[in-house]
């Protein structure tokens, strides 16, 4: 949009009804964009859904203003009624701040009958000041930043022109730029790759008001989030948007009797996306500039510089456009877990429970001590819990503490079900010994049932087995043999005292019939309806079912 837009301008000054009409357009725009603003929410959110809360707050503001008409048509009185309605109807943090913006706006209009560009700039400045005061610890990169930059741009514009539409244009442009910059100011936004939801709401409101002033269609449609929060890793790092340019420059000035307003205006004029906060003793600066050297030369006149950080956004932008960003290796400050597992599905379950590294291995492919040691040395933590997850691997694992400088605890898990039970008890930010103890204790609460196929004729533990039979073991003891998978499994589960169980986790093997898990699940649902059954595709060889009975 340009200030020389040829579209009709509704009026040079606004009275109360004109302001109300503009705010009605804003409410419609908020409602239309509600879901898209809601989608910008990233946790931790202080409360509720931003789009809904702002739209409901604006609606309450307008309802109150409409309900109490009949009085004066002065713009200041209309603003008062709107502000009162917003305060009554404020919902959520964003709604409360919006209500404070409207309150400050109304207060600054004093008892004006009509509003021109200069009055608007004054009102936006009042809105900004009241909004900042309402928040105990103002955070930049939020709707506060957006209203602040909008107000600053409006004030600058109003020094040149009293034209309402022109000042509005400038305020909107400032708000949009500030919004685009919010991910650079707030890590949580950058990680989720979204702009601030409340700031987006402010831009929607200003755009709608500006559209009303020009008699144009509302332009502002909220873009969907650029990426789901799940893509965080790929986007980590101090990067700016793909169209950022110049140098992202941050520094602090410490001095005495700094003329803050002058310094802020001067520094702000030398670049884009400026966030300059402080007072007469400390000034903190974030700005995108083409010439950081000249900026620092200016700044050092007012005091000592510290926390200087300059990033070349052109290079970052190129990197973003080029190859996929490389994943930095995760830094682990707590305790890591190295677990042995065969099968992609089991490995995925173990990782999801917090295992840091998986060593491939199991019944017929025991990993070497060196394999285990490499995995232990490979994790980024100095304190490591090792889960052998097989009786044949426990001893190898027990050698590790003498071979590594790292602090190692072996939790002697003899089966995959035991390994899962141990991992469930693991918390990454708990002490090593506390973790090892909790994980050992968890083994007592699980019985392991393993279902496989006999590879020879034998009589073991009093059970006669023929080659090719389905056999069931409970905690390494053979308890059942037969020719039907589900029947043998149910019989083995009875040996495992399934009647006392609350949760049965069934891990299906790579060679199990596709419907085996389902058939077992429905059989158990019939015989033991109170037990929660979970079926997981483990992908392990040899064992059709590995079952944890808890």
């Amino acid at each position: 949009m340009t200030t020389t837009d040829a579209s009709p301008i509704t009026a040079a000054v606004w009275d109360g009804p004109a302001l109300l009409s503009a705010l009605r357009v804003a409410e419609d725009a908020l409602t239309a964009n509600r879901d898209r603003i809601n989608a910008l929410n990233v946790f931790p959110v202080p409360d509720g859904d931003t789009g809904t809360n702002m739209a409901l707050t604006m609606r309450a503001a307008i309802d109150e203003a409409v309900a109490s008409t009949g009085g004066s048509t002065a713009v200041s009185q209309m603003a008062d009624r709107v502000a009162y309605g917003a305060l009554l109807g404020a919902r959520g943090n964003s709604g409360v701040i919006l209500s404070q913006i409207l309150r400050g706006f109304a207060k600054a209009l004093d008892d004006a009958d009509a509003m021109d560009g200069r009055d608007l700039a004054r009102a936006l400045a009042g809105a900004r000041d009241t909004a900042y005061k309402a928040v105990m610890k103002p955070v930049e990169g939020t709707m506060l930043t957006v209203i602040r930059v909008a107000a600053e741009r409006a004030e600058a514009s109003a020094r040149r022109t009293p034209l309402l539409a022109t000042v509005l244009d400038e305020a909107l442009t400032g708000a949009r730029q500030a919004l685009a910059d919010t991910p650079n100011l707030l890590d949580v936004l950058r990680q989720a790759n979204v702009v601030d939801a409340g700031g987006q709401g402010i831009v929607v409101v200003l755009d709608a008001i500006d559209a009303y002033a020009h008699g144009r269609e509302v332009a502002e449609a909220v873009a969907p989030p650029l990426a789901a929060p799940a893509d965080v890793e790929a986007l980590a790092g101090d990067t700016h948007g793909a169209d950022a340019f110049g140098y992202c420059t941050n520094f602090m000035i410490t001095g005495s009797a700094i003329p803050f307003d002058d310094v802020r205006a001067e520094i702000g004029s030398r670049g884009e996306s400026a966030v300059i906060v402080g007072d007469d003793r400390i000034v903190k600066v974030h700005i995108h500039t083409e010439d950081p050297g000249a900026l620092l030369t200016y700044a050092v006149r007012w005091g000592e510089l510290s926390q200087i950080k300059i990033d070349n956004m052109n290079l970052q932008t190129q990197a973003l456009r080029g190859d996929a960003p490389s994943h930095a290796s995760p830094t682990m400050t707590g305790v890591a877990v190295v677990a042995v597992a065969a099968g992609d599905g089991i490995a995925a379950v173990m990782r999801s429970l917090g295992a840091t590294a998986i060593v491939a291995g199991g019944q017929t492919m025991n990993p070497s001590i060196q394999d285990l040691l490499s995995a232990v040395e490979g994790v980024a933590a100095d304190r490591v819990v090792v889960l052998p997850n097989n009786g044949n691997i426990v001893m190898a694992a027990n050698q590790l503490p003498g071979l590594s400088k790292k602090e190692i605890r072996v939790v002697p898990t003899r089966s995959i079900p035991q390994g899962l039970a141990a991992l469930t008890a693991f918390l990454a930010d708990r002490e090593l010994d506390a973790n090892a103890m909790a994980m050992c204790e968890a083994l007592g609460a699980v019985r392991s049932v393993e279902i496989t196929t006999a590879d020879k004729d034998a009589t073991i533990d009093g059970v006669a087995v023929r080659h090719g039979d389905v056999i069931g073991l409970v905690d390494d003891r053979l308890v059942e043999a037969g020719d039907e998978l589900v029947a043998v499994t149910i019989a083995a589960l009875v040996h495992a005292m399934i009647e006392d169980a609350e949760v049965v986790t069934v891990i299906t093997g790579a060679d199990a019939p596709v419907d085996a898990g389902e058939r077992l699940e429905s059989a158990l649902a019939g015989s033991h309806p109170s037990i929660a059954v979970e079926i997981v595709d483990g992908g392990q060889p040899h064992y059709d079912f590995l079952i944890a009975v808890e």
Partner: protein, 282 residues
């Protein structure tokens, strides 16, 4: 009539009878089903909420009370009180504390209001409100009452488990416990509210293990001056906990609290918890 009035938000879920007995004022948060806004515990009861939650395809959301709601409460109390102490759920979980503060400032020319961030929620907030009422009944020195309440905040310990992490995750209040999310297996997470935030405490697979965890937590405390038990209407489970800790906590020092719609929107059905106050009864 005490000269100091006590205001608490609805996430304390204090039973109405208990509130009336102690003259506590409750300010409700809101629960939203789409565009429909209902006041916590007033427009919808905990039981109605859980029924509706089971039927609703859309997950409810919540919002803090408007500053005006607190302001109304403070102004009403100004008629026959000298001061107000308002206790809210953790400012790290909700903007309720902020709303109360805005209102407190707005009424500063009418009545003095001190707002306390409980740094906790639910039945821990209820225990703090009861404590405030007891202190206010014995003293008309607002500063002394507030000072003691603030000093005791660290003596309240809330531990609970949700039947599923789904609601906490969608509600965004999960904080550091986010590390518990995303496991392939279903787990029962035991969670603590620590310094106002939800943090992981323990993961177990079954409800009975989770109840064991709550009981062990109470029994591990050197001293229990007051115990709160948080439940979703499942009295037998609450009784089970009370009975298993009876040697440590006499039954008359146990407060049952059925959690309401706003908490319910964040923990879902089937949650159970305990709040321990380590201090001594007055």
């Amino acid at each position: 009539m005490s000269k100091i009035a006590v205001v608490v938000d609805s996430t304390s879920d204090l039973p109405a009878a208990e509130r009336e007995r102690l003259g506590l004022t409750m300010v409700p948060l809101n629960v939203h089903f789409g565009d429909e806004v209902l006041r916590d515990n007033l427009d919808i009861t905990p039981t109605q909420f859980l029924e509706r939650l089971a039927m609703s395809r859309q997950l409810p959301t919540t919002s803090q009370p408007s500053p005006a709601l607190f302001e109304d409460a403070f102004r009403a109390l100004a008629k026959n009180h000298d001061a107000v102490v308002a206790i809210t759920l953790s400012s790290k979980l909700s903007g309720t504390y902020q709303s109360a503060n805005i209102a407190a400032e707005a009424v500063s020319d009418v009545i003095r209001v001190e707002v306390i961030d409980s740094q906790s929620a639910s039945v821990s907030l209820a225990l703090q409100a009861l404590r405030a009422a007891e202190l206010a009944a014995r003293s008309d020195d607002l500063d002394a009452v507030v000072q003691q309440l603030r000093a005791e905040i660290a003596s309240y310990h809330l531990l609970f488990f949700a039947d599923t992490l789904e609601f906490l995750q969608r509600g965004g209040r999960i904080g550091k416990a986010a590390s518990m999310v995303g496991t392939v297996l279903k787990i029962k997470p035991l969670l603590r509210v620590d310094e106002g935030q939800v943090v992981p405490y323990e993961r177990v697979r079954t409800r009975s293990k989770a109840i064991d965890g709550l009981v062990d937590f109470v029994l591990s405390m050197p001293h229990v001056g007051h115990l709160g038990i948080l439940h979703d209407g499942n009295i037998p489970d609450a009784d089970l906990i009370r009975d298993r800790v009876a040697a440590k906590v006499p039954a008359d020092r146990v407060l049952y609290s059925q959690y309401g719609p706003v908490l319910g929107a964040h923990v879902g059905p089937g949650a159970l918890g305990v709040s321990v106050f380590e201090g001594n009864a007055l």
